[in-house]
Amino acid sequence: MTVADPARGSSLVAEVEAAVKASAAAGDGSAFDPARLLELDRQERFPDLECALLDRCGAPRAYLPPEWGGATGGLPETVEVLRAVARHDVTVAVAHGKTFLGTAPIWVAGSHGQREWAAREVLGSTAFSWGLTEPDRGSDLLSGRLTAGSDPAGWRLDGAKWPVNNATRGRVCTVLARTDPAGGPRGFGLFVVDKSTLSHGSWRCLPKQPTHGVRGADISGIAFEGAVVGDDALVGRPGSGVETVLSALQLTRTVCTALTLGAAGQALRLGLGFAAERQLYGTTLLRLPQARHLLGAAASSLLLAEAASAVAARCAHALPGEMSVVSSVVKAGVPDWGQDAIDTVAELLGVRGFLVGHPAYGAFEKLERDHRVAAVFDGTTAVNRNALINQFPTLARRFADRRCARDGLRVAADPAAPLPDLDHRELRLISRDGCSLVQALPDALSELATRATSGGEHGRVPDRVVHLAELLEGEARRLLSHVAALSPTPREVPTEAFELARRYEVCFAAAAAVHLWLAEPRPERRGPLWDEALWLEATLDQALSRLNPTAQRESQHLDCADRLVTALERHGPDRWTSPFSSPHRTASAAPAAAGTGDPR
């Protein structure tokens, strides 16, 4: 592991944030002008100015590894950049971020030449798309019928991908195709198809599909009929397509959490703003205990998502072999918690959250529709839970062994620790080590107990937080014993298993929160959310109520929500920013590393 100076972090997030904010504030139809975003949605028009602005301010660098000219912060920075976009508009994040999805397989399995080419194209703002789904076949990769047959010039593609984000606007589409007519896990190849190189008439775009949310996005399709691509289009080996896709999905599923963090963060800001200005019953909504309770619940749900996402993105660098578990956990859990936060704010906003085009609150009904795509994108919640259930036996065993990769875990959970480069070769379809973060939860909770008020100088935690930690440990142990007791059923996965998967996700997020807290050397200096371990308490409280709603004392639960809102009021004008902002920097961020070629 290279030691880099975390203080010299990347500035891409800040640059993108500043550019988007300035353009949004300029108003008058400029990119990200809130009124324009609502109008684009109404007309179902693609956010072209917005994507162009993101291209100009270098956002595509967030989609590249640092050694190929990408931003220095690795996957955490990819998440942060897309979150910064999504908090203004989820549709834009979906439209622009698709390039990350379309290129991810190239970093996983592409040749040196393919990587070099892809880096050049991405930096030149070429839009990529990722063609996995086919009509009527949903998330089931192995059911794909698009074929790649051998051709004197390389490969001949026949069949259709639909619905695919950016299929029409993207010049390049990365396509999973059946290379063996019999199909099967080794029967597919992955092809990078540059539409500009295809012969006329061998392909056509399928019309844009009207959708519930992200209405401006280019959700369309592409059909090939004897489209011939060269051998250089094949990523990896002819039979390795599914494996490559599953590895790449571990990264893209983790990055998808950015959509939720952005959307739910925006929802919370709107909710807090509304509550502060709304006059009723002789006071403001923000002063009514029940309204504070709802806002606190929304905020702590979001905290759960923040903690899980922050650590998951770092895991890609620090514990890549565990990403098959980690990515499924956050892809299933984070949209769920974020949607709950959004729904809770909706209750508070009432009709304002329902009006289309309202100058101040119209963004809400749009983000509410937009965000629902997060649970569907890149594998639905059920698909991800199923993937997690497949690894239950290992997860139970490793938890019982209390085995964990300590070094990797320490880096994953400490935002100040320098990250090693993301080594795509270390991604595994099955995690041998289970999930270190959850396996270390009992130890972490014990350590937290030593920080009780009576403990050391820094990072003290009140007894009530220790009490929550004890309850949580009991729930986690109970959960894992149920996971262990679940007999593997190859054919029919029982409903109960999905419920256990849901709880495992919550445990992961709670573990992420505890580890993040323990990694912070001087929490008392970090502002109101850190005082008396408030955010940690709120996160654990929220986790508990999702594990066992009767475990926690109601009075403490309500009191915690109220204090959380008080802290948010003091938190600053924007009122919601992640408490876990990290200085983005990976090993390859060393000067002049960019563009020097593949270090492997």
């Binding site: 019953y281 909706a346 009709v351 329902f354 629902r372 649970a375 009767t550």
Partner: protein
């Protein structure tokens, strides 16, 4: 029953129907409507799913649908029989309108519920000539706009700013000043019920309703604020209006001046029960759509319904629907059998039922996977329903305002009602759908339910009555009932100690949590007694108590008592009953009526 058109329109509503009786032939009315609507899946049907979706895209409802409802005379359902209409039983109205919601919720709200909300004010508080005038307008097919809402004040009625003050130096005239916003049918209503401040001093007697004929308002004093567009219920024409010294005659005031808040709270007792009950139709169609989608879609080499998780999700939504139906139906019947208690009961329904319906639709969306996100294709109706269900929780009265309506009654109930063996439970007829009831008596609606809670008493009595031995299913229901009753002890103990400051909108979140528990007990009582008094309502191949066990289980999940999934021995038989009904074309509520949706 009085024959509709011979009734004396000036008769006191309460005086005429002094005998109640069996509800009208709801099955017949629903069947007639279903027949008029025709086959929903027929793409050529001008009121089929395709037409409904296309209309939604245009922010309207199918034009043919409104003509059909005109022909059917849906408006007569909203007018009391003694005024020439067909309204005698709230439950009947609810079920007929539910059929409209099944076809298109925007039609249900835009054509039906909106008018009823406004009219209920007039039936409750209007003078005889006002009631007769409105009855004529409604029976002629007119819409009535219920103009309460001002964007700046939402559910806080006491802050409504539209004023109706006497004009200075003129013959008796009131001048309207101010605005109303996001009101259904405001631009096309034959009459409008306006909620206005009539006393500059404000206070609890500071507001009144006015019944006005929009055509008689001088055009130059009225500004049309245009249409408000919303995420869901897009076909409902939501309008706004701004008045500037608009003169209206003083006799526009409903009943006597200064009773506005009281009238609203009394008359909305009916609508807070009926509208959630109608919205059960929305879930009916969403669930039906989800079943069809799950049966058609293939995943991992089989139908989606082959996966146990899919069957659980569908069964849970089915149980949610039955829970919502049972609670709203019983609440509607208590308006007849225990009208003084309708205030807190209506708040409990409006607090609980919409959130049950919303969550069910949301859970179903996960089952549809990416299909729910598409606005085209065979299951595109679902995304419309997902949008249409949103306003059910905040529209008409927010969850919080309903809880505020319940809290003040907690101490009295705890001290003097829940634990008193001498307090009678509700009559058996309250839980039997077709049994005769006392008439619907608008005059009996009250703001003071007193220390009486016969619906909770019915649960207590049932707990005592249910055999501890006997059929194993009955023992299981008895266990479930006792579990809910255990919550009553703590609720009573904590409610008894609530200080007065905890009984208003400023109450702590823990007091709000108590109102939620109370609502839960009321719903539990409605479900359990509906099964006990009327066991054959929802048979399954695993026995008749399956539905009530499932409904009580789901209720526990909705109240946050647990987060468990429905156990397979309930989920599987419910799933089979659900698919049987979808295949046979039966509604998914306890009524089990034929439907062509």
């Amino acid at each position: 029953m009085t024959t509709a058109h011979q009734a004396d329109p000036y008769a006191q509503v309460t005086a005429v129907a002094d005998e109640g009786g069996a509800p009208p032939d709801t099955g017949g009315s629903v069947a007639e409507l279903e027949e008029l609507f025709g086959e929903a899946n027929d793409p050529r049907n001008p009121v089929g799913h395709r037409a409904v979706l296309a209309a939604d895209e245009r922010h309207t409802t199918p034009s043919e649908a409104e003509r059909l409802l005109d022909r059917y005379g849906l408006n007569a359902e909203f007018v009391p029989a003694e005024l020439g209409g067909r309204l005698t039983h709230l439950e009947h109205l609810m079920e007929v309108a539910r059929a409209v919601y099944r076809r298109d919720p925007a039609l249900g709200l835009g054509y039906g519920a909106g008018t009823f909300m406004a009219a209920a004010n007039v039936w409750t508080a209007g003078r005889p000539e006002q009631r007769a005038e409105l009855a004529r307008a409604v029976l002629d097919g007119g819409k009535v706009a219920c103009a309460y809402h001002e964007l700046a004040h939402g559910n806080d009625l006491s802050r409504a700013e539209l004023t109706a003050y006497p004009a200075p130096n003129e013959r008796p005239t009131l001048l309207l000043n101010g605005r109303k916003e996001v009101v259904a049918n405001l631009q096309r209503a034959a009459r409008t019920v306006l909620f206005a401040r009539t006393s500059p001093d404000g206070g609890p007697r500071g507001h009144s309703q006015l019944l006005v004929d929009p055509e008689r308002l001088p055009a130059h004093t009225v500004e049309d604020l245009g249409r408000f567009h919303t995420a869901g219920m897009r076909g409902v024409r939501l309008g706004g209006v701004s008045f500037a010294d608009t003169p209206v005659p003083p006799e526009s005031v409903l009943g006597s001046e200064g009773r506005g808040v009281e009238t609203a709270l009394r008359s909305f007792q009916l609508t807070r029960i009926a509208v959630p009950g109608m919205t059960v139709g929305l879930l009916d169609t969403a669930l039906r759509t989800a079943v069809r989608c799950a049966e058609e879609r293939q995943l991992y080499g089989g139908a989606v319904t082959a996966l146990p998780l899919s069957r659980s999700v569908l069964s849970e939504a089915f149980a949610d629907l039955l829970l919502a139906d049972a609670f709203t139906a019983v609440a509607a019947r208590t308006v007849h059998t225990a009208p003084r208690q309708a205030g807190p009961y209506a708040c409990a329904v409006k607090y609980l039922v919409p959130s049950v319906l919303m969550r069910a639709v949301k859970d179903l969306s996960a089952l549809l996977s990416s299909q729910f996100y598409l606005r085209e294709g065979p299951h595109a109706l679902f995304q419309k329903l997902l949008r249409d269900v949103l306003p059910s929780s905040f529209g008409h009265a927010s969850r919080a305002s309903c809880q505020v309506g319940m809290a003040p009654h907690l101490p009295a109930m705890a001290h003097r009602a829940w634990g008193k063996p001498d307090q009678a439970p509700l009559s058996e007829a309250t839980f039997q759908r077709d049994a005769p009831t006392p008439p619907l008596d608008f005059g009996a609606l009250s703001l003071t339910p007193g220390a009486r809670d016969p619906l909770v008493r019915s649960l207590v009595c049932l707990g005592e009555e249910l055999p501890a031995s006997g059929r194993s299913e009955e023992r299981r229901v008895a266990d479930a009932v006792r579990q809910h009753l255990a919550a009553l002890q703590e609720l009573a103990a904590r409610s008894a100690e609530l200080p007065p400051r905890e009984l208003g909108p400023n109450a702590g979140a823990s007091t709000f949590a108590l109102t939620a528990r109370w609502a839960g007990l009321l719903a539990a009582s409605a479900c359990a007694n509906s099964w006990w008094r009327d066991p054959a309502r929802c048979p399954t191949d695993a026995g008749d108590p399956v539905w009530v066990l499932a409904a009580l289980h789901r209720l526990g999940a909705h109240l946050g008592h647990h987060r468990d999934r429905l156990p397979p021995d309930l989920a599987e038989p419910l799933f089979r009953e659900l698919t049987r009904r979808v295949e046979k074309g039966e509604t998914l509520d306890l009524g089990r009526r034929p439907t062509r949706t």
